[in-house]
Symmetry: C2
């Protein structure tokens, strides 16, 4: 079971990621793609990783935009699992 991180720990880890913010008890990032097909393709790749990690995002898609919000429900806040998933998502986008 993952432990909820303190805001100072969250800020420390966010410094190692590009474009993620800590808002309302989630770590959040917005992405913009060329079109819907590109956005949904990225979502599909992320979905497989989430399923493998058994850790799932709150996410919202509108045409070519995607907002991903990560938090650990059971822990009531952001945990290491969220940073692990954020890192995996970044790896997908830079691959």
């Amino acid at each position: 079971m993952s432990k909820r991180l303190e805001p100072s720990e969250i800020e420390e880890r966010l410094a190692q990621l590009q474009g993620w913010e800590f808002v309302d008890n989630f770590i959040i990032k917005s992405f913009t793609f060329k079109d819907f097909k590109e956005a949904f393709s990225a979502m599909t790749r992320i979905a497989f990783e989430c399923e493998k990690m058994n850790h799932h995002p709150n996410w919202e898609n509108v045409y070519n935009t995607l907002v991903i919000k990560l938090s650990t429900h059971d822990a009531g806040g952001v945990t290491e699992k969220d940073f692990k998933l954020a890192q995996t998502i970044e790896t997908i986008f830079t691959s």
Copy 2:
């Protein structure tokens, strides 16, 4: 180009659909699935239809839940295109 429908026209068409509501200039429905895999599989089927129709939803997924909001950006409101897509989504779920 689709014409924005009047609220009375929207209500009339909603009466022919199961579980859709008119809220904040969108027609909206929430779906619940067994798990994330089922939810995302449904999204994938919907995504292909949207791409074919060139009409895309605002949608939000959290684990096994999916909220779909339809509106026609260019028309500034709900049009026949949204009802056509809602009908297609219903057909996917009942197939």
